[in-house]
């Protein structure tokens, strides 16, 4: 049912890292079943679920999170449009975390049975899907290393990361701006900081003229200085195109 253009953002992510053949694209598209919409604040999948489909977000931002018994939330990853957010459930079976929509999301569903067959007929494509989950894990490692950074550095680092990840799929406007539907509370949940500290740190960064952030739009003003401020090195995003 899906044509190639609908998965274009996802294929772009793969093509930054390797060559994807036309036959591989057709094979993955054939695995898609249907599209669903999830409103902002809704969940794509919940901790404890045993889904029989994996979800690829065509449009919208989402987060991987866990809620603690005291009601606090830890966001462990932010996903951008085109991310295959729920490839994990194919093999993990029972979800150990939830994936929620930060903004309204259009989601393509891939039945596990079809994906499992795909792994038996398309070894290279399977490795590319595996690579995507490895990159998710690499991003988790980078976030864990954030303990050594100050709050403004952590925020600057996340902005750098999202700018690069969105740039891969052409989601950065010519004026170097991008949409970021993230509240200060959610930003605090992602960085393990209180919302007040996030607010204060954003004021600090604003005074440094590295970027602006208004009405869910971030605009980069000075990329080189922002990278330095964040000690950002994109190696962990594995942006090299080579045989996998």
């Amino acid at each position: 049912m899906a044509d190639e253009t609908i998965l274009a953002t996802f294929f772009r992510k793969l093509e930054v890292r390797d060559v994807v053949t036309a036959a591989e694209k057709v094979a993955l598209i054939a695995c898609a079943s249907d599209m669903v919409s999830v409103p902002a604040g809704g969940d794509l999948v919940r901790e404890g679920d045993r889904p029989d489909t994996s979800m690829l977000v065509l449009d919208g931002f989402s987060s991987r999170y866990r809620d603690a018994p005291d009601g606090s939330r830890q966001i462990t990853a932010i996903h951008v449009p085109g991310d295959f957010v729920d490839l994990h459930s194919l093999l993990l079976r029972e979800m150990d975390h939830s994936v929620g929509a930060l903004s309204a999301c259009s989601v393509m569903r891939f039945p596990h049975a079809r994906l499992r067959s795909l792994t038996e007929t398309h070894p290279h494509l399977t490795r590319l899907l595996w690579l995507m989950t490895l990159i998710d894990a690499s991003i988790h490692r980078e976030w864990l290393s954030a303990a050594a950074r100050t709050a403004p550095e952590q925020i600057a680092h996340l902005i750098c990361e999202l700018y690069v990840r969105l740039g891969i799929t052409g989601l950065i406007a010519p004026d170097q701006s991008f949409t970021l539907p993230l509240t200060q509370t959610a930003l605090g949940e992602a960085l393990g900081l209180s919302a007040v500290h996030v607010n204060r740190s954003l004021q600090q960064l604003r005074s440094e003229d590295l970027f602006t952030w208004q009405n869910q739009t971030v605009r980069i003003l000075d990329w080189e200085s922002l990278k330095r401020r964040a000690s950002f090195d994109d190696r962990y995003l594995h942006l090299v195109r080579e045989p996998r």
Binding site: T150, A151, S194, V196, H197, R200, Q203
Partner: protein, 78 residues
């Protein structure tokens, strides 16, 4: 939920909060301010070895509440 504004006072001056955050009541806002002070104290102690931080919580109805943390490092000569 009412909106509370958290003005942060630190060594660089007063940073007035123009955005604010929603909480069910002032007690919840105070808990949030304490958590923020703990975060910020940790960070400023690492950078400066000392801290002098405060948060003034404002809203439209209730009287403002001020929270403050002072911590110093002194070498005591005998």
């Amino acid at each position: 939920m009412p909106r509370y504004y958290f003005d942060v006072h630190d060594r660089q001056g007063v940073h007035r909060d123009e955005v604010g955050l929603d909480f069910p009541d002032m007690d919840a806002a105070i808990l949030e301010a304490r958590r923020a002070l703990a975060d910020m104290t940790r960070e400023s102690l690492v950078i400066d070895g000392a801290t002098d931080l405060g948060i003034l919580i404002r809203d439209g109805d209730e009287a403002p509440v001020n929270l403050a943390v002072t911590m110093t490092t002194e070498r005591l000569d005998e």
